[in-house]
Point group: C2
Chain length 291, copies 2
């Protein structure tokens, strides 16, 4: 499997890699990834790009492969297309794409990417937000906020979360995947209650394994309501294996807020390092798997 | 038609008036008011109260009769029930009501009201919020935010809105209703753009006629995008009659945020004054009509 950019070049076409910023309400999607017969963000976006730019087919690669029901405000995506197609459509691309997409997906920006940019592998870190209500709930936030019956002690959750920060093998909070590393660097994990009583977790890491944010949240909620000891999440981490007692928190509370990239000059280097570190093949930038 | 409280008393029952704070996502409702065969907030709430308190029937009266698709975070409601029913269920009433209601309606609190309290007529003022996006839109806010294609100049809208403040006959912004006054006191009407680019109007008045907030917003949007002169809304106001050029802005942007009441000692006086002022019969506190 060759890089799409190379594929265009081998056909004698000049290619351009586009970088898109995408937001979506994940409620009615089977997730980011295209699945036969299901409504996926990737599928809808690829279809809109193909139509808007009059192409045969393209492949969209994202920074964070969100699961069914998970939302995004700052998903980053790249697609490779012939330069000739882009030149024609550039001035109207954003409006045309949003005209083709359903209201639950919006392209916030689309522009040619800097050389070496890869939406998945060039990313330095991902920022997620998880919201949960322990009151009666706000019906106007119910698609983006999970519900927890028992009252949550945010201070307690903050103490327990800090013990998970840093570089660790997060196998206890990941769905197993053969031949890939579950070592990640958790850079931020804290909780705050807003004026409406909704509790928000901010979770940042270089990258996340599959279900990692929701598993971390699932381990912290029973600390917050007092059912588990404050050091339980740290004990789970140390065990380095999944524990059936950890519930994966509901998808609807989770939003991919933003993805950070290095300065343009370092994009290609970052992609090389990330691939090596997380055990991905060096010759295939669009390998499947979570980021 | 007698007051419900009197009705119970005439049957030899002691009655208590309950005050409820209610939030709802208006998307899937025909509005607050019960309508045959349609899903209304009033209907769903009355049904839940009747079931939770094991009553035959009750009638819920609200502070602001929201239209189809309009939301509420702070709707205030009263219902009259026999004291004996309340005494039994009081400690579990909130949990039981929310267990019976669909997820798009939540009762935030329920408690016996102070003497003289009337959800509609004792209210001093209503606070509404209207949100509109002039960018590509945030899919996670699309049920509570309208969309405007052309860019909005918030400063211009603020100047135009200030000219509408004060006590006026708002007939130009009301759907006509025989025999009632359209004189209202607009206390706040300003616009602010948040970090996500969403434009929010805060609109406060002693009371609103039918469609008044959405008509005011509908008159300001074409000022914001430059299609109308900055003094157009003030000219409409002065004309004191509906102008077909004013569009009623979409329901989904509108939220009833809060309702203010006077100190307990003044509740009955306020109700008397409001009824006289807005032309409602003095002997019927549950008369139909907008507030």
């Amino acid at each position: 499997m060759t890089e799409p950019l190379d594929a265009f070049v081998s056909e004698g076409l000049s290619a351009v890699r586009l970088r898109l910023l995408v937001a979506y309400d994940g409620t009615d999607f089977c997730g980011w990834a295209r699945q036969p017969g299901l409504r996926s963000v990737q599928g809808m976006l690829e279809e809109a790009i193909v139509t808007a730019l009059r192409l045969d087919s393209i492949r969209a690669v994202c920074a964070g492969r969100t699961d069914a029901g998970v939302h995004a405000r700052g998903q980053v995506v790249h697609v490779d297309i012939p330069v000739s197609s882009w030149d024609v459509v550039a001035p109207v691309a954003l409006r045309r794409l949003n005209g083709l997409l359903a209201a639950d997906v919006r392209v916030l920006s689309v522009e040619p990417a800097a050389p070496g940019f890869d939406a998945r592998w060039s990313a330095l870190r991902r920022h997620y937000r998880y919201q949960v209500s322990d009151g009666v709930g706000d019906p106007l936030r119910r698609t983006t906020c999970a519900h927890h019956v028992d009252p949550l002690d945010v201070d307690r959750m903050n103490v327990a979360s800090q013990w998970l920060l840093g570089e660790h093998d997060f196998a206890s909070f990941c769905r197993e995947r053969e031949g890939t590393s579950s070592v990640r660097t958790l850079q931020r994990f804290d909780w705050v209650r807003d004026d409406d009583g909704v509790v928000t977790a901010h979770v940042t890491a270089d990258a996340f394994c599959h279900s990692m944010v929701r598993s971390l949240v699932g381990a912290l909620l029973p600390v917050g309501d007092g059912r588990r000891a404050i050091d339980w999440p740290a004990q789970l981490l140390a065990a380095r294996m999944r524990d059936a007692a950890v519930t994966v928190a509901p998808a609807r509370g989770l939003v991919l807020q933003a993805v950070d990239y290095p300065d343009d000059a370092l994009l290609a280097d970052q992609a090389r390092v990330a691939r090596r570190w997380r055990g991905a093949p060096q010759d295939n930038p669009i390998t499947q798997g979570s980021a």
